[in-house]
């Protein structure tokens, strides 16, 4: 199994542009530490990189700081110390416009989905394009196709509260994918679905990775991780171990 994945990985399309820019890590942490208020450091001395077109799991026991690490990458919290570099830009030095620009290059799937309950599924998935000021007519086909692709074509007029957990999960993933992000962060994306669907979602992420997106999946589902021989970032006791 693992070998097959490796083979597939080798089959990945070659980078279109063979420039230095291609090799800049999507995410780079150097000696990063985080503490909330005056409490102890939740994350200590994190130093790692996430390369372009890479696929990795972020794992560790509950409360180990997986979500905090994702929030650091999302730039929703700032590190207490150390340097966080996203897409080659040092986070503490960018202004709000720069922050928005970087966020538009990443997609995020939240553990609790965070779909907007007053918008239809179609509107939810189209949201990242709408906030960029694009006209509805320009992205209608894209959104419809993506919704069909994740099997929600018939549900696009439905409001999220009436959807099942799996459907919400897929809608959240579709929303993260609609902009074809360079980096996908997924927090427990299989936490709310049955194992079969979890595997299908995993396949979706693998395919996305083949198309050139760096994928980080935070999970503590060992069964899921065993399906793929991918790099594992293991958080424990505030430190990070990398299992290549």
């Amino acid at each position: 199994m693992k070998d097959e994945f490796d083979d597939l990985d080798d089959d990945a399309p070659p980078p279109l542009l063979d420039t230095d820019a291609e090799d800049i890590p999507v995410v780079h942490f150097e000696n990063v530490g985080v503490r909330y208020g005056l409490g102890p450091e939740i994350l200590r001395d994190l130093t790692f990189s996430i390369g372009p077109r890479s696929f990795q799991f972020l794992t560790g026991p509950s409360g180990a700081g997986k979500t905090t690490l994702l929030r650091l990458m999302l730039m929703s919290i700032a590190p207490t110390r150390g340097l966080v570099t996203i897409f080659g830009e040092e986070v503490s030095r960018i202004d709000k416009e720069g922050l928005t620009g970087l966020r538009r290059r990443m997609g995020v799937v939240f553990q609790d989905f965070r779909l907007l309950d007053h918008l239809t599924l179609y509107e939810n998935v189209a949201l990242p394009l709408r906030v960029q000021g694009r006209e509805d007519a320009s992205y209608r086909a894209e959104v419809t196709e993506l919704l069909d692709w994740v099997g929600l074509g018939r549900r696009m007029h439905v409001m999220p509260p009436v959807l099942s957990g799996g459907e919400k999960q897929r809608a959240a993933i579709a929303r993260a994918l609609i902009t074809q992000p360079e980096l996908l962060l997924a927090d427990e994306p299989t936490g709310n679905v049955d194992p079969g669907l979890a595997r299908r979602l995993l396949r979706l992420f693998i395919e996305l990775n083949r198309l050139g997106t760096s994928v980080v999946i935070a999970t503590h589902d060992l069964t899921l991780m065993d399906l793929v021989d991918a790099r594992r970032l293991v958080l424990g006791d505030g430190h990070l171990l990398i299992d290549e």
Partner: protein
């Protein structure tokens, strides 16, 4: 050996992610049971429109309805103030115009002087002045009639030193040289000219005060509306914190979020202001009708003589519309600014 966990309901049709020969060409069937060809369903056919132009921040909360009521009430009060000020301003200019069309020469009787001759002389002098249409002396009987309400009928006023009046009517638009007339009248003992300037000044002062108070009240109402909106915006931001956060994560900038809130509040402001302003216009129309029906009665005549008509007229209606638009504008601008300030102050 990997799948030693609970039975998988999708086991039969579940595709192992890694068994797919080439995922790029395989349909990703997620949750629909049997694998199927990647057919784009004609899902957009015969279904409701995809875009409803739904606001990104929800609108139907009790708080926003309360804010709309506050805006309606404030607009209504401001419109009443402005309408009342407009009525006073319009009527006072009518009063001033009619008062300014006349002047009065008063001649106080003196012993051993024939007052009739003096009155005739004064009237003649007035008639000679350019811009004077007519000068009509009040006869002794007419003067007595003027005093009748105070002194009663049947009194012989011959013994009393009652001043005599000459009413000088001016030609419309004329500006006679009252100084020259006053100088000429100085030769007539006991004569004095009242060009009603003092009255006009008092009326103007009163009307200006009322208008100034009206403007101040309108400004206060706008400030109150702004404050109410600022607080409501903070409440809406706090209530929609999750939505704002999601909007940030999906790549919305502060300007976009501020515009969303601004549009929502502008819509609310327009509705509230339209309700308040509309009610004020209706109320003035009702007063106009009532005063028209009273006009037939003597009491109505007196009221109208004192206060003038109750119609706000086109100018008043325009003022009310401007106030309603100003309230909506303040609503939108204040909400947009508060959102921007809050987002700028937020940690992210």
């Amino acid at each position: 050996m990997r799948r030693t966990h609970t039975p998988d309901p999708f086991e039969e049709d579940a595709l192992d992610p890694l068994d797919a020969s080439d995922p790029r060409q395989t349909p990703l069937d997620i949750g629909h049971g049997a694998p199927q060809a990647r057919v784009i369903e004609p899902s957009s056919v015969a279904t409701p429109a995809l875009t409803r132009d739904a606001p990104l921040v929800p609108v139907d909360s009790a708080a926003s309805r309360a804010l709309m009521a506050v805006i309606a009430i404030l607009t209504f009060l401001a419109a009443l103030c402005a309408g009342a000020a407009e009525i006073v301003a319009a009527n006072s200019s009518a009063w001033r115009a009619s008062v300014a069309r006349e002047a009065t020469i008063q001649i106080r009787p003196r012993a051993q002087i024939d007052i009739e001759a003096l009155v005739a002389q004064a009237a003649a002098l007035a008639r000679e002045t350019p811009g004077v249409a007519a000068a009509e002396p009040y006869s002794a009987e007419e003067s007595a009639q003027l005093l009748e309400p105070w002194l009663g009928a049947g009194l012989d006023l011959g013994e009393l030193p009652v001043p005599r009046l000459v009413v000088v009517r001016l030609e419309p638009g004329a500006d006679p040289d009252f100084t020259a007339l006053r100088a000429a009248l100085a030769d007539i003992p006991g004569a004095s000219l009242d060009d009603h300037g003092q009255w006009i000044a008092r009326l103007s002062a009163m009307a200006n005060t009322v208008v100034a108070v009206g403007v101040a009240l309108v400004v206060l109402v706008l400030v109150a509306a702004g404050l109410a909106v600022a607080f409501a915006t903070r409440g809406a931001m706090a209530g929609n914190r999750e939505i704002v956060e999601v909007l940030h994560y999906v790549g919305a900038d502060d300007g976009f979020i501020a515009r969303e809130f601004q549009n929502r509040f502008l819509r609310m402001g327009l509705k509230g202001a339209a309700i308040g302003g509309g009610l004020a216009v209706l109320l003035f129309a009702l007063f106009g009708r009532l005063s028209a029906s009273w006009r037939a009665s003597p009491a109505g005549d007196q009221i109208e003589a004192l206060f003038g008509g109750f119609e706000v007229g086109w100018r008043g209606a325009a003022v009310i519309v401007v106030i309603a638009l100003a309230v909506s504008g303040v609503t939108a601008i204040v909400s947009g600014l508060s959102v921007k300030r809050m987002l700028a102050g937020a940690s992210q």
